[in-house]
Amino acid sequence: MQPVFRYTKLDTPIHRLHPLVKLAYVLLTLVLVMYPIRPTDMPVLLVWLGLSALLWAVARIELRRFGTLMKILVGTFIFLILIQGFTYRFGKTPLITLGHLRLWEADLGVITREGVWFGVVLSVRVLAATSSLPLFVMTTSSSEIMTALAKLRVPRTATFMIVSALSFTTLIFEMWSSILEAQKLRAFDIERMNVFKRALKAYVPIITPLILLLFRKANDFQIAMETKGFGAPVEPTEIETLTSRPADFLWLGLVVAVFVGCTVLKFA
């Protein structure tokens, strides 16, 4: 169990980009994918996906990461294409006929060309939605995230918790692996269990000691925080000071322009 998408330190224009610009791109993606969708929306989605591909390329993110993303999403895509193929209510042209089973507005025995196309459009919509956040995660360090959240006036305690929790994830991965190995030594092999046996039996012997160990660590963490004066009524310093550069405004302009272009293309 290891995260596929994690921050990679590189010197690229996207890594140097102000985190708030990247956040704007992520949020605009969310707005764009939540627009009501029609089968004719493919160009809009492809334009935004093109922007994402450009950002991924400039950030020099390896192609295999994109492959991993596709591997995660392929099940969803197959599900969407099949389901829409069978149930799309404006489907007229039969592609494959397995029989006839009319249920309200759909004939569930026929896969229609319009339905499959709509499934493909929805899959591209999901891909557009999921391609933005990995870019942000892989090009933004924890300290930059902390500073960006502070700039957004997120309460300091919340920012501290999020960034601390992010840094603790490595420790939890290690603890998880150690407990898993210890249980394997006791002939309790989670990897050999099927999904239902796993759900009912596997997690208790792992999660219970993990939570106990974590809460004990939390006590030490609490003492460390108090010793370091967390919560003292003084303005804390920032690890990283972020300043806006002309390049940030140019990238922001590009992202906003593409977003406006997509919106016009959609509603025109």
Partner: protein, 263 residues
């Protein structure tokens, strides 16, 4: 004569709902990390419910209502950073996958006092769950017509029993007692029912944004209601099975107790 100087009392930033933020942070980190652990498949394929969801649901039982919800939200944010592909709706998914299960369990846990909030909230969510997306935005956004009253009844399965539980002495008196009972069977029952009532209602807001995103057909909407009617109790049972050993271990651990938690 010694004069008593008034002490300047400052609101502590080190605690949330009576829980140290160190505990909240570490439990949040755990919830986040477990977004990589698939626990239960979606019906019809296309993904898995991560271990984050049951762990977020039980957070209010382990850390108290406020601390638990805060930990679940931190977990949602961390999950979004660790497994971004599993969070296509980004901030919305933080609430759907982690925040809402914790909020609903917290409400059920404190239902003796909060039923006046819980009951209307469940009714509103139930009606919204029935309306969205097939009536609002409905045909304007390309959604089909659902067969009535079948669809209303199917949606009611997910909110009406929970609302009845929350409004009756079972939810206002018995369940809050059972979750802290020293009798194991009663405790299992209490935790299972608390989580069940919460997760049934959670299922409505959890699914609707995705139905909208995937443009579900009316037939699929009805079928999904039917198919998930056994799925939610199974997920609740798994959650109860995970919770009780943790609670018992915490009781024996000698760790400082948390106000509002069930251990």
């Amino acid at each position: 004569m010694e004069q008593k100087v008034p002490e300047k009392v400052r609101h502590s930033t080190n605690r949330i709902g009576g829980v140290s933020i160190a505990w909240v942070t570490l439990y949040g980190a755990l919830c986040g990390v477990t977004s990589l652990v698939p626990i239960f498949p979606y019906i019809g394929g296309g993904g898995y419910v991560p271990l984050t969801t049951p762990l977020s649901a039980i957070a209010p039982l382990l850390l108290g209502p406020v601390g638990g919800v805060a930990a679940a939200l931190v977990g949602g944010v961390i999950g979004m950073f660790i497994a971004p592909a599993a969070y296509p709706l980004q901030v919305v998914d933080i609430f759907l996958n982690a925040g809402l299960p914790a909020i609903f369990v917290a409400l059920m846990l404190k239902n003796a006092r909060w039923w006046k909030v819980t009951v209307p909230l469940f009714i509103v969510l139930g009606i919204l769950g029935w309306l969205v997306p097939f009536y609002v935005p409905g045909a304007a956004a390309g959604f089909g017509k659902v067969p009535e009253p079948l669809y209303f009844i199917m949606a009611a399965i997910y909110w009406l029993p929970s609302t009845i539980i929350a409004a009756t002495p079972l939810g206002t008196r018995l369940m809050p007692e059972w979750v802290v009972s020293s009798k194991r069977v009663r405790r299992y029952g209490g935790v299972f029912l608390t989580v069940l009532a919460a997760l049934f209602v959670w299922w409505l807001p959890w699914t609707r944004p995705y139905w909208y995103l995937f443009n579900f057909s009316a037939e699929l909407g009805v079928a999904t209601h039917l198919a998930y009617s056994w799925w939610v109790p199974t997920l609740s049972a798994i959650t109860a099975v995970i919770t009780i050993p943790i609670v018992e271990a915490l009781e024996r651990s000698g760790l400082p107790k948390i106000e509002g938690a069930i251990w």
